[in-house]
């Protein structure tokens, strides 16, 4: 029955994890997974209770209570912005625990271990150790305890390779001679590798690294499960190992990076996100755009010359239709000089058969932005440049502009950070509430529409 309960826990993990991939079901998914965990823990404890073990209950319960309190405290106290590093820390703990389980198995084993057990123990120890130290370096970088820029070790990837090789040899020795100490050496080398491998990676890439380490901690748990022959660990760990890997790849793609380029970064291989413009911007994908729009109550679309260049009038209309079908109020704010001729935007929107009733001019639109959830700026630049309001040095100072920066979220669709007709930079792009969604307007809006429909 214990095994079937573990299976049930595994099923709950699967269902929960699947739920977490869609915004509507994510929260429920997390809770389902947590129920799975509860089932697994309770069953284990009950199982042990029913056995006559040498278990020191005080230690177990003490450990559980201490861990629960610390975990809960950290989770509740943390600031929204510090969550990623907290996840990294938690992940480190998990990896460490798996390594400790394997270590306990090593200590407990009296006889010579069969090869397969030795292999899984080695894997569990080393992967757990890498996860532990790697995660804490990542934590340190994000928390600002370790410099978050790229740091280069003497020897670079070569050094890491050497450490890894040494760890493999040590583990091999351990297996061959059944030497406990050799295992500890391998573990220590792996822990060192976790540090030297993550240290060189820049802060911007940390989320991908944490995700990869998360996958590792799953594999470590799964290996520990193989060691002690526990299905719950095997299922849960494998699930996370695989899912984490897929997620890592997806995150890397979303950031326009490849995983190898992150892990084996050389000088000059800086993140793409940093190479445009001088200040950092919030890059958004079609999905981000779709989610922001889907959960808005009111959306104002601000078309500009880029809409005309991309001939994205039909795409913008289709997106607006989809939003309206969800009950979201969509209007269009037309700046008097948007485009390259008087009435340029009108021509396009009329072609797409946007009702005139939905068009707001500058005077109608500006008072509305404060109450607007999302402003979608499509290929406009100068006409939404806040410098016109507040930078007396700007060549367009004094020109009335659409104050889109007042909305809760502003999504800007354009191909790059390059300037518009007036040839000047736009501070809007660097605001916290602005998401830059780069791409040709037509393609970008079409992608956002299909993302919206898949929500």
């Amino acid at each position: 029955m214990t095994e079937l309960a573990y299976l049930a826990a595994g099923v709950l993990f699967i269902v929960g994890l699947k739920g977490m991939t869609s915004p509507r079901t994510a929260r429920r998914g997390n809770r389902i997974a947590s129920v799975g965990m509860l089932v697994a823990v309770v069953v284990t404890v009950v199982d042990l209770l029913s056995l006559d073990t040498r278990l020191v209950w005080g230690l177990v319960i003490g450990g559980m209570v201490a861990g629960a309190v610390i975990g809960a405290f950290l989770a509740i106290r943390v600031q929204m912005t510090e969550m990623p590093q907290l996840v990294a820390a938690f992940n480190g703990f998990g990896g460490g625990a798996s390594a400790l389980v394997a270590a306990a198995a090593v200590v407990a084993s009296d006889a010579v271990m069969p090869t397969e057990t030795a292999v899984t123990i080695s894997l569990s120890l080393t992967i757990g150790a890498i996860t532990l130290t790697g995660s804490f370096v990542a934590f340190g970088k994000l928390q600002g305890l370790v410099p978050s820029r790229q740091m280069f070790l003497p020897g670079g990837s070569f050094t890491n390779g050497a450490i890894a090789a040494a760890a493999v040899i040590a583990a091999g020795v351990g297996m061959m001679y059944d030497s406990t100490n050799a295992y500890w050496v391998a573990t220590a080398l792996a822990a060192l590798l976790g540090i030297t491998a993550v240290l060189p990676i820049g802060g911007a890439d940390m989320p991908v690294v944490i995700s990869l380490l998360n996958s590792f901690s799953g594999i470590a748990a799964s290996m520990a499960g193989l060691v002690i022959g526990n299905q719950a660990l095997i299922i849960g760990g494998a699930l996370v190992g695989a899912a984490g890997l897929v997620l890592t790849l997806e995150m890397a793609v979303a950031m326009n990076r490849s995983v190898p380029s992150i892990l084996f970064a050389k000088f000059g291989g800086t993140a793409a996100a940093d190479s445009i413009g001088t200040q950092p911007v919030n890059r958004a994908t079609a999905d981000d755009c779709a989610i922001a729009l889907a959960y808005a109550q009111s959306v104002v679309i601000v078309p500009g010359y880029g809409l005309a260049v991309a001939q994205a009038q039909h795409a913008v209309k289709d997106l607006a239709n989809a939003l309206e079908a969800r009950g979201i109020a969509v209007t269009y704010a037309i700046h008097p000089v948007a485009g390259r001729m008087p009435g340029h935007m009108n021509v396009l929107l009329a072609e797409a058969d946007v009702s005139y009733d939905l068009l707001l001019d500058l005077d109608q639109a500006n008072p509305k932005f404060k109450q607007t959830d999302v402003v979608l700026v499509v290929g406009a630049n100068d006409v939404v440049n806040p410098a016109a309001n507040n930078d007396p040095g700007s060549p367009i100072y004094g020109m009335p502009v659409l104050n889109v920066e007042e909305a809760s979220t502003t999504i800007v669709v354009k191909r790059s950070l390059s300037a518009g007709f007036a040839g000047i930079d736009n501070p809007l792009f660097y605001q916290d509430s602005t998401l830059m969604y780069f791409g040709d307007a037509k393609k970008a809006l079409e992608d956002a529409l299909s993302a919206l429909e898949n929500l």
Binding site: I334, H335, P336, V337, A338, P342, G343, M345, N346, V347, A350, D353, Y356, L359, D361
Partner: protein, 372 residues
């Protein structure tokens, strides 16, 4: 069955140019089609002038150009885009055929007199509105031109922009265009006004036009509608419905910058849809184009081919709208008439079949043997 004497058959095209007529009944390309059917074609000099076809182009097409058709041989077939005149009798051989938009009601007497001489008059106005006869349907083709031209006339008369323009010099609101009567001309008018960026409202007594209006991006004005009769034409309304209709239209009329009316009931006076009172409620500077002016007018006070001003609103009653796009109107008419003639010609001889579902209904005179 009327049989026209064999080869060579003589076909004539008049120079119908006048102040309100730029079209020609058969452009050069149609002349070629007629020649291929076995006709000798004679064209009056200058016939295509207003439509952009010079005499040389007719000669190139194989026609003989003469100063007056009276100078040529008597005709077996006369093709006309405007109604025939009594002087046409002189150039027609006995037993010949006249075909075109011949206004059978107005010319009934003359045509039946000609009928006595065995001259057959075919009225393209009376073609059945069947799917089969569409390629000969000159009313449709000319209404297409007229609907298009009406919008352009209205737009150039109105001193306002059609589309909305948000500019640095202020926001220019779009013009409101109202189309009353959604037949062929009305639909084309909706499409053209919509293309120009106007906000287009439309209304017709036939309920199925709602879908058609919306299929062109127009909005349908909700007012009383009725079932249509079999021929696809609207019937005349009783007085009560007419009043209810006018009331429902009043606010749409008041809001409009440009109104184009096309409502017709075949064989009857056009329905009066807009009263002077309604006109006075409109903004000064607005324009109304009454395409039904010659059959009594949809608008109170409209007069054919005149512009009447009421309270700053210009009411125009042009009858030459199709002629304003003379080149294409002539091309389409030529094709229509050629298709009809093609149906009557077999191996170089022409026969008018009273029982043909397409040709039969167009015969104005003479009556079928034994009917008188």
């Amino acid at each position: 069955m009327m049989q026209v004497p064999c080869r060579p058959m003589h076909l004539g095209i008049r120079n119908e140019q006048s102040a309100t007529e730029n079209r020609v009944a058969a452009p050069p390309i149609t002349v070629t089609a007629f020649i291929e059917l076995g006709f000798d074609v004679t064209v009056e000099s200058g016939a295509g002038g207003g439509a952009g076809f010079d005499d040389a182009s007719f000669v190139d097409a194989g026609a003989t150009v003469v100063e007056n058709l009276a100078d040529g041989p008597p005709l077996d077939l006369l093709v006309r885009i405007s109604p025939p005149t009594s002087s046409d009798r002189e150039i027609l051989a006995d037993g010949s055929v006249v075909v075109g938009l011949i206004d059978p009601t107005a010319n009934a007497d003359m045509l039946s007199r000609w009928g006595v001489d065995g001259i057959t008059s075919l009225s393209m106005e009376m073609l059945p509105r069947s799917t089969l006869a569409q390629s000969m349907d000159a009313l449709s083709s000319q209404a297409t031109s007229a609907g298009y031209a009406a919008v352009l006339l209205g737009v150039t008369t109105l001193r306002r922009f059609m589309p909305m323009l948000v500019t640095a010099a202020g926001t220019i609101p779009p013009s409101n265009v109202l189309i009353l009567g959604v037949g062929v001309a009305g639909l084309q008018a909706i499409a053209t006004a919509k293309r120009l960026g106007a906000v287009v409202y439309a209304y017709d007594i036939r309920p199925e036009t709602k879908e058609q209006v919306e299929s062109l991006g127009g909005r349908f004005v909700e007012a009383p509608t009725m079932k249509m009769d079999e021929g696809g034409y609207a019937r005349a309304l009783d007085e009560e419905t007419e009043l209810a209709q006018k009331a429902a239209l009043a606010s749409a009329v008041e809001a409009a910058d440009l109104i184009i009316t096309t409502a017709q009931v075949p064989g009857r006076k056009a329905p009066r849809l807009i009263s002077s009172e309604m006109v006075r409620a409109m903004k000064p500077g607005s324009v109304i184009i009454d395409m039904a002016s010659s059959s009594g007018g949809n608008v109170e006070g409209s007069r054919p081919d005149e512009t009447v001003e009421v309270a700053g609103v210009q009411i125009m009653g042009p009858t030459d709208l199709a002629s304003r796009v003379a080149t294409d109107s002539s091309r389409m008419f030529g094709r229509n008439v050629a298709e009809l003639v093609k149906r009557m010609v077999t191996d170089g001889s022409m026969a008018v079949d009273y029982d043909d579902p397409v040709v039969g209904p167009t015969i104005v005179a003479p009556q079928r043997d034994g009917e008188t």
